[in-house]
Symmetry: none
Subunit: 193 residues, 4 copies
Amino acid sequence: MKFTNRQLDIIQAATKLIGEKGIQNLTTKNLAAEIGFSEAALYRHFKNKNVIISSILEYYKDEIKDVMFGIIQDSTTGILKLEKIIEFLFNRFSSNPAIIMIVFAETSFQNDIQLSEQVHSILKQKKMVFEQVILKGQNDGSIRMDIQKEQLATIFMGSLRLTVLRWRLSNMNFDLNKEGDILWSALAKVFIK
Amino acid sequence: MKFTNRQLDIIQAATKLIGEKGIQNLTTKNLAAEIGFSEAALYRHFKNKNVIISSILEYYKDEIKDVMFGIIQDSTTGILKLEKIIEFLFNRFSSNPAIIMIVFAETSFQNDIQLSEQVHSILKQKKMVFEQVILKGQNDGSIRMDIQKEQLATIFMGSLRLTVLRWRLSNMNFDLNKEGDILWSALAKVFIK
Amino acid sequence: MKFTNRQLDIIQAATKLIGEKGIQNLTTKNLAAEIGFSEAALYRHFKNKNVIISSILEYYKDEIKDVMFGIIQDSTTGILKLEKIIEFLFNRFSSNPAIIMIVFAETSFQNDIQLSEQVHSILKQKKMVFEQVILKGQNDGSIRMDIQKEQLATIFMGSLRLTVLRWRLSNMNFDLNKEGDILWSALAKVFIK
Amino acid sequence: MKFTNRQLDIIQAATKLIGEKGIQNLTTKNLAAEIGFSEAALYRHFKNKNVIISSILEYYKDEIKDVMFGIIQDSTTGILKLEKIIEFLFNRFSSNPAIIMIVFAETSFQNDIQLSEQVHSILKQKKMVFEQVILKGQNDGSIRMDIQKEQLATIFMGSLRLTVLRWRLSNMNFDLNKEGDILWSALAKVFIK
DNA sequence: TATGAATGAGGCTTCATTCAT
DNA sequence: AATGAATGAAGCCTCATTCAT
């Protein structure tokens, strides 16, 4: 196990707080109150607040990575993998909106060099995964080859992110899964050879 | 004029601070120090800090809007308009990276309802502009019609945003304009009928 | 003239501010806004804020003193003088409630030794006036002699002050003049021989 | 217990500060210094400064109420109750002058609607207690009946308050208990049938 | 493991006042 | 006579963190 139960409690509570009002809402006071114990107790489980944030990032990175690798291995063609991934992600965000602000948190941690680098590294890693999937798709003939995998990955991730962001900003007042379907039917036309 | 000179000084200094380390770096103390006067002096020019942030958002909204409308009217086909816009934006961000964190600041203001709505409204407005441009492109035959303008706008804005974000996170260690060209050649293939 | 016109404007505006929300509401900013000019302008007319407060105290001391001396000389018996005075005062407070907080401001200026002494001196002076009136009443046979003038003055002033205070605290939601009449009919029974 | 020990420390220190120089002297900085810990520590014991003030008011309201009810039940006739009460109050103020500014603080909180109402409500409650005592005195024949209990209460409380106020303004340079006796002998003559 | 108490640093804001124009 | 700009001091409050119990 990477985290103790108590640490998982904290990660979950922190996710909720960030999901509600952004990182500025993640104070030790709010966090302790959300969990239902004292602020001091937090320091039994994590060295400091930055380690908590860092752990949150790791936690969701792993969680999403695991599912994505499952999808990648199960699906046959590259284009199908992308379809399954987008389906999973929109579903995940839809059922747990709080994690959106963490998964797309790149701009939130400029403050702190170490967190900023961690966040950048996670983004690069995700991009590489998508590029590999797209490359396979180009090789298996399901994805067009006249556009480089890097640009297709940018288009895929970028439009996905923006759609999810709009959903958050609208206070989730449209059906994200439906919007995801519509986006995918557009992306599919764009990606197919 | 919408703002006094001193207000423009403050907006510029605030932009710099946010550009460097995010909104958490925009404190009254840092801001006053950046401008070179006392914290109290800020309050002669703006009612409070939220009004400063709000003004920054308005300022860059207007600035970018003006140029975009110029481009929209000058260029002939829809696809050319998009090309000019992307060129302008990458150039703008490249020459003044600080504004990136403001123009893409949507996640930064969840804290504050009013700012959050302002930021959402700006995003919606931008999306509509892109949709109109795309619609014209579809009517003039320069842009494909088998994908709805809304989805094309999402693809356009999303991939543009993600590219710029990666540049920031990489500490601007690649040539944003060149990357913009590459992205555009991909998008062009995607958009053309 | 003791004060210039501009100084009288300032005294009047300050009275209004204090009347509305107490001395804590008398800030240079509020005062300037109330008058309709700049804060800096205040310093053309008064050396500083304490001098303004001091002037307010003097102004109303004089104003009330003048009327009271008129009453004292006009009326015949001591008891009639008291009646006229109480009538005048309740009428004055009723028509201009703002001055109540100034005329009864003794607890407001503890902060500042000089103002505190000024306020004490005004109170002592008022008390002496009432004692003289009562003494005359005792001599002319209209006021009982078995209680010392000092105690009768305390009873008179004290009950008057408390009645007016209650009126202010109730947001002036009863008829002060009527309540003054009722109080006076009680006091008259108490004072008469 | 209504308050923790630390809260009582804070109430006591605040009382002292207000007693010395009025509410304007009750700043978080002064208060923390008086107690001997940091400003931040205050906020572990009270939510904010207004709650501190509110607590002070409650504390002394209760304290005085308890004693007064004891007196009311012990004494026989109405007039005797009044005598005991005045004796107790002058003694209390004499031995702890700081609380005077709190018990007579009605004009100090106009600034704040909630405090202002609290202070008004306390005053009304006290008035009612005195009116009840007086009513009993009128029924048991010890207090005159030709003046309404409301007016007698005003006379009683008003003259008491003014006497105490004069003592404070004079920097306590006369013997308050002795002055209380003198006042009472006057009031007794006034109240007795 | 947990907490109550405490704190230094810093947050935003208002205060009365000054000064050049 | 008046003002716009500025300021040092101070206001209230929250932050992340520590430590003794």
